[in-house]
Symmetry: C2
Subunit: 259 residues, 2 copies
């Protein structure tokens, strides 16, 4: 399988509207430093499976290749907002799998158009998509959220976003499962500059880099990618020239990983 | 004042994802035939006021000029979905005016970010924005919806979208007000190809062309523009080479009207 990072930003994206921090200024000049909302694309046997759907140009991208299925991690707007337009398309319906969340986002569930929302996935009960086996993993976030353990028969990749830390059961599953690759939420710099001192000490909905690196170290994959990156984190890396552990990198938009 | 049509399409836009009708094929080849979600931009005294916010690239457009205010007609996704991203920007808040609709769209009201949602506008009670006087006009739609009678002291333009027909009180106001220009919902071709015979006879949420032209004739502006145009209507015009009455035209994206 091939994994493509379709987007690696947080809800504000990079550049963030109206922001003049060094990371946003750089992204306006150099398009390879832009970050669209966090999303992935998996290609296997000529089929395309999307992970999340927050890119605003989703419909135009899907015209190049119609996705066989869409996996949603959760229903925050930056992970589903592209569906608000895509749903009004024509042709065969597109199955959409995700966590049980009756509220969903806006009127997506009430007016699904060509989207075929499947019943909410049960944690740890694998879903088969072509040759892929996809196991939903509960994550810690402010809305019902699932990560995915994705296996093509040979390679094992865990997509763990959005989350702060990992629930015990998810960590136990992953420790046994031994992923080759881990993609993980690392939204905030370690000195997360929140106006709330409590969040500064312990972010509530997303990992900071230190938290993401601790999880990666415990799971021990050969490679790992940080994603859902805020402009604050990009600016922090620009200022500090921080070096990540071997095998760990900041993902960037359009990065392709052949497994 | 100057009025720019930032988008003239319906929720599916043109081209519609996955559609091979002649209008969608043409729009894929010729970008001047594309239609983004219906929206307007008014420039006066160097300030920019947006009407609706459904363009997916709203934040990028607003980076060119920060809007002084946003007027919303209603909270259907194709009229507000660009706000889901814009709200997470930086800098001074942007006032947003619109109808009273406690539900809004997704979590916009609960998590407004830099958007400063003002109390719901009262029908027929004018709002002053710089030198503009803007009078909210109730429309007929499936969600609370307002059109706007916009006056710069000299010119009077009515923005009437989304609507099917006009409520009596709105029509009486406009007959007295005597607009120079009218922008009006004309989503469907007259032989609206709905699977539901009842809707085919009488569209329920949007005008067809005949209904829009009847309203224009009754209001008697010197110029009028059809907007919120579906790919079905574009295809219908391509097939029939229909001619519109003098002074009436199909709007197209990026059309600018100096008043």
């Amino acid at each position: 399988m091939k994994l493509r990072f379709a987007g690696t930003g947080d809800s504000a994206q990079v550049p963030c509207f109206g922001c003049d921090c060094p990371a946003c200024q750089r992204a306006r000049l150099l398009s390879n430093h832009r970050r669209e909302p966090c999303a992935g694309e998996i290609e296997l046997d000529g089929e395309l499976i999307l992970i999340d759907a927050g890119r605003m140009d989703l419909a135009a991208r899907c015209e190049r290749q119609r996705p066989a299925a869409i996996l949603l991690t959760h229903y925050h707007a930056d992970h589903v907002q592209g569906l608000l337009h895509l749903r009004w398309g024509r042709g065969e319906s597109i199955p959409v799998h995700g966590p049980k969340d009756p509220q969903g986002c806006a009127d997506l569930h009430r007016n699904p158009g060509i989207l075929d929302f499947q019943p909410g996935l049960k944690p740890f009960r694998p879903l088969v998509l072509g040759r892929l086996e996809v196991t939903p993993l509960p994550l810690n976030h402010s809305k019902p959220t699932l990560g995915y353990a994705i296996e093509d028969g040979v390679n094992r990749v865990a997509w763990l976003c959005d989350t702060v830390g990992l629930p015990g059961a998810t960590e136990r599953f992953l420790t046994q499962w031994q992923p080759h690759g881990v993609v993980i939420d690392a939204t905030h710099p370690d000195a997360y500059d929140s106006p709330n001192p409590e969040s500064r000490a312990a972010p509530r909905n997303h990992n900071n880099v230190a938290m993401a690196l601790e999880i990666i170290e415990r799971l021990g994959p050969s490679r790992a990618w940080l994603t859902h990156i805020s402009h604050e984190l990009d600016a922090d890396f620009m200022a500090t020239s921080r070096i990540l552990p071997a095998g760990v990198e900041m993902a960037c938009d359009n990065l392709e990983i052949p497994f």
